[in-house]
């Protein structure tokens, strides 16, 4: 097991390096630059700016400087767009926001999704099943860019219960709508995965045995069926959780949370190279970490898997 983890980590490092190199090239291939604006900057001014940010260096040198900065000093450089901030600061400010509502979303999606899925499977082909499936299909069909304005119209404009945006240090009433908007489609997917997985598990031999031993249904479900049912949910959760905690651009923009997704998309539009790189690396590292976590969880839950 430990050697497996070490091996995985050893693979992760070159993966991240490849990610850095690829993003670096792709970024430079995109037309425009961080200092282009409607008013073309005079060449002597542009030369000053490029010198200041080291953009006048050959590309291999820029990349080398960048990678050394990241690896040895954990320094992702200054933002080109927001002059008084470094990328580290941008991430330190935006990531906790996204992490907060992302984790709440993940929790909400898992709890509600699994409950719906289990209920639907146990009461297979009954009104409960149809309702649960209906809710999950509806939630899946409603994308968050439609969901967000609807929530705003109902809870902010109509009822006046919740503020229409902002973050305010993560006060609860600012967090509710982003969580709902972000989690519903994940919740729907989890409900559907849980339902079909549970149906399969309920038909397996060990459940039949458990039932035959005369265990009460509650105990059969919670003690024996739930754990194997969750296996496909967990493999789904790896990338899903990364998606949630690194933020949905749509949710960040709709509710002006100041989260990382908003920085990511705006930095891409502004060609704020260092911010794009910083967030790309963050997402990359998180993806690799969560995939590793999922694999470890798998081994723990499923006795058939051995590393």
């Amino acid at each position: 097991m430990y050697s497996y983890i070490v091996r995985r980590l050893a693979v992760a490092i070159p993966t991240i390096l490849i990610l850095i190199v690829l993003s670096f090239f792709l970024m430079y291939l995109a037309p425009g630059g961080p200092f282009n604006s409607e008013r073309p900057i005079p060449p002597e001014v542009m030369a000053n700016i490029e010198a200041k940010y080291g953009l006048d260096q050959p590309m291999w040198k820029q990349m080398l400087d960048y990678v050394t900065g990241v690896v040895f000093r954990f320094d992702f450089g200054p933002s080109f767009q927001y002059t008084d901030r470094t990328v580290n600061e941008v991430i330190a400010q935006g990531f906790p926001v996204t992490l907060t509502y992302g984790l709440w979303s993940a929790l909400f999606a898992v709890v509600v999704g699994v409950a719906l899925g289990v209920a639907a499977a146990i009461k297979h082909n009954t009104a409960v099943d149809y309702t649960a499936v209906g809710i999950s299909i509806g939630a899946q069909a409603l994308p968050n860019f439609v969901m967000a304005p609807i929530l705003l119209l109902i809870f902010t404009l109509g009822l006046g219960w919740l503020p229409g945006g902002g973050w305010n240090g993560g006060q609860w009433n600012y967090v509710i709508m982003p969580v709902i908007a972000l989690s519903t489609s994940y919740m729907a997917s989890i409900a559907r995965i849980t339902r079909s997985s549970m149906l399969e598990v309920l038909n397996s031999n060990f459940i039949r045995t458990a039932k035959a031993k005369g265990l009460p249904m509650r105990r059969v479900i919670l003690r024996h069926a739930l754990k194997p049912t969750l296996l496909p949910v967990i493999s789904y959760l790896g990338p899903a959780v990364v998606g949630m905690i690194t933020g949905s651009v749509v949710v960040d923009i709709a509710f002006s949370t100041g989260g990382i997704g908003q920085f990511f998309v705006n930095s891409a539009f502004n060609r704020d190279y260092s911010v794009i790189m910083g967030i790309t690396i963050l997402v990359g590292v998180l993806t690799i970490t969560f995939n590793l976590l999922v694999d470890i969880l798998y081994a723990w839950i499923d006795p058939k898997i051995r590393y």
Binding site: A30, P31, G32, G33, F35, N36, S37, E38, R39, P40, I41, P42, E44, V45, N48, I49, A51, K52, P78, Q81, Y82, T83, D84, R85, V90, Q93, G94, A148, P149, L152, L153, T156, L157, G160, P163, G164, G165, G166, W167, I253, A254, F255, S256, T257, G258, G259, Q262, F263, N266, F269, N270, R271
Partner: protein
């Protein structure tokens, strides 16, 4: 302030002091209007501002914040006229090349230090320095300060910049050429002073709340990037007694429709109206939906470079395309927010500019269409040989709607097939400046309130002349206008040439279209076409 008004203000103060607080309502010291109890202004901005460093700022929302935090030599009043700021006034030498500003002696920084002429010298040198590498140092060059280009280019030391403090309260500026509108230019945020000790102590972090020292009516108290920026009254400001708004909050809301919802829910005092929604909002909220002219023009530019499609090199074709655009349909039906049809490049709202009566403006649309068809036929295009071209614009619903409408007009009137292509902003800018287009959308807002800020774009050598229109006559007219006492006839001639040769097709002049709290509307400077507003001049009236 008249005696009567002074009395009124002091009576109000007395009432407050004597404990009549619950009943006393403050009144405005000048207008006498009853003021609301809460004087907090919250408005929406589209994007996070680039900086609150006067030397570096390059966007409108950043400049708005900086105009509250810092004060330059001169300010603008509600009508856009120059009024004293840190300077109480200025004198101009006979050759119009030396400006001498006298600074007030009661101006202070928020830490209590006096504001001196040296603070301006430091700030101006810094804004031009290669070390700061400000993307807005070109503004210093536009101001024609002596030696500015050499300083920016690093060929001359900072000390050579033509600005000096002869004593603590006298700032002398030497220009390299006479500039009639120079005093207007010092209302721009790039020219605002900065506090040397603070900048040197904190480096790039000096603009953060807690570090920043500023000399304006407000100080920065909170800044959460991409979410909010808050400024509150500066008790050290020399005119603090006349400031009414206590706190100003800018909220970053990228989506304009969500911003509108939040305005309607009472979270905002001001937001922009999305294109096309003004008539409905005006009907539902007549006191809150407002529209007034701004100093910006929207136009299509034709690519006149060698190697660009030949058809567009023919002035008859360009003129025909321009004539066939029914501007009234675009401003009344597509935008519907109080914008005005444009037949000249310079907006009528520009100071001391008389809109010339160019031929196209005085025709009816039927006459324009008839003339357009004739010109196209003359140029050899018709049903057997239809012209095909393309329009590029940056991604936006409003630009798309306009492009769709224009292409439809061209098709119906002239049989022209125009392909539409939208591009992401940076890609668009690059394509346009590289000449990689046939017809492109353009928009331009005045840097200062004078016609040359628009017409200079038509100069052959101008870096912003993306059409690459070359006309010796235009160049000499514009050069002459720089030093002329009455440049209007020269500007009229330039506009006539633009109308005749059609390097661009002006489409409309922008309007500022807002939803605004009805108690704030009264103090909003709608007559200030540059929209240089100062929170210190705003106030909420009582209901």
């Amino acid at each position: 302030m008249s005696i009567k008004m002074t009395l009124k203000a002091s009576t109000a103060a007395l009432l407050v002091l004597t404990g009549g607080m619950a009943y006393a309502q403050a009144t405005h010291p000048v207008t006498g209007e009853a003021l609301a109890d809460v004087q907090e202004f919250t408005y929406r901005v589209l994007d996070e501002h680039s900086s609150t460093d006067p030397g570096l700022v390059e966007d409108v929302s950043g400049s708005e914040i900086i105009r509250d935090l810092f004060e330059g030599l001169m300010n603008q009043d509600a009508d856009g006229n120059l009024v004293p700021g840190v300077a109480t006034g200025y004198t101009v030498s006979d050759d119009k090349m030396t400006y001498t500003f006298s600074l007030r002696d009661d101006a202070k920084w928020s830490n209590g230090d006096p504001v001196t002429a040296n603070d301006f010298v430091y700030a101006w040198r810094r804004a031009a320095s290669p070390e700061l590498a400000s993307p807005y140092s070109w503004y210093m060059s536009l101001m024609s300060i002596e030696n500015v280009d050499a300083v920016i280019g690093g060929e001359a030391p900072l000390e050579d910049l033509g600005v000096e403090a002869t004593d603590d309260h006298t700032l002398v500026v030497h220009l390299s050429q006479p500039l009639p509108y120079f005093a207007q230019m010092v209302t721009h945020s790039t020219t605002f002073p900065v506090h040397q000790a603070t900048v040197e102590a904190h480096g790039t972090e000096w603009t953060k709340p807690g570090n920043i020292v500023s000399n304006g009516a407000y100080v920065l108290t909170e800044h959460v990037p991409q979410e909010r920026s808050v400024r509150e009254r500066n008790p050290m400001y020399w005119d603090n007694d006349n400031t009414i708004i206590e706190k100003v909050t800018a909220l970053v809301i990228n989506d304009e429709n969500n911003a509108l919802t939040r305005f309607l829910a009472g979270e905002l005092d001001r937001t922009e109206v999305p294109a096309g929604q003004f008539p409905r909002l005006q009907e539902e909220h007549p006191n809150e939906a407002i529209s007034f002219p701004s100093l910006c023009s929207y136009y299509y530019m034709f690519n006149l470079r060698d190697g660009a499609p030949e058809a567009l090199q023919d002035p008859r074709v360009r003129k025909a395309l321009s004539l066939a655009i029914n501007r009234d349909v675009i401003v009344d039906n597509v935008l519907a927010g109080g914008q005005t049809a444009a037949y000249t490049f310079t907006p009528g709202a520009t100071a001391s500019f008389t809109v010339p009566d160019v031929p196209t403006a005085s025709m009816t649309q039927d006459e324009r269409n008839a003339m357009a068809q004739e010109l196209m036929a003359e140029a050899g295009y018709g049903p057997d040989n239809p012209l095909s071209t393309s329009i590029v614009y940056n991604t936006s619903d409003a630009h798309r709607s306009i492009a769709v409408a224009v292409s439809q007009m061209w098709k119906q009137t002239l049989g022209v097939e125009a392909e539409l292509a939208n591009m992401e902003w940076q890609t668009f800018l690059e394509a346009r400046s590289n000449g990689d287009f046939q017809i492109a959308r353009g928009g331009w807002c005045g840097d200062y309130n004078e016609a040359s800020t628009f017409l200079d774009l038509m100069q052959s050598e101008s870096g912003y002349n993306d059409s690459k229109f070359v006309s010796a006559e235009v160049d000499s007219l514009l050069a002459e206008a720089k030093t002329s006492d009455d440049p209007n006839p020269l500007y009229t001639r330039v506009e006539e040439i633009i109308d005749a040769e059609a390097p661009i097709a002006p489409i409309y002049h922008y309007a500022n279209v807002y939803m605004m709290d009805e108690n704030l509307v009264g103090s909003w400077p709608v007559q200030n076409v540059q929209q240089n507003w100062y929170s210190k001049d705003l106030y909420f009236t009582a209901n």
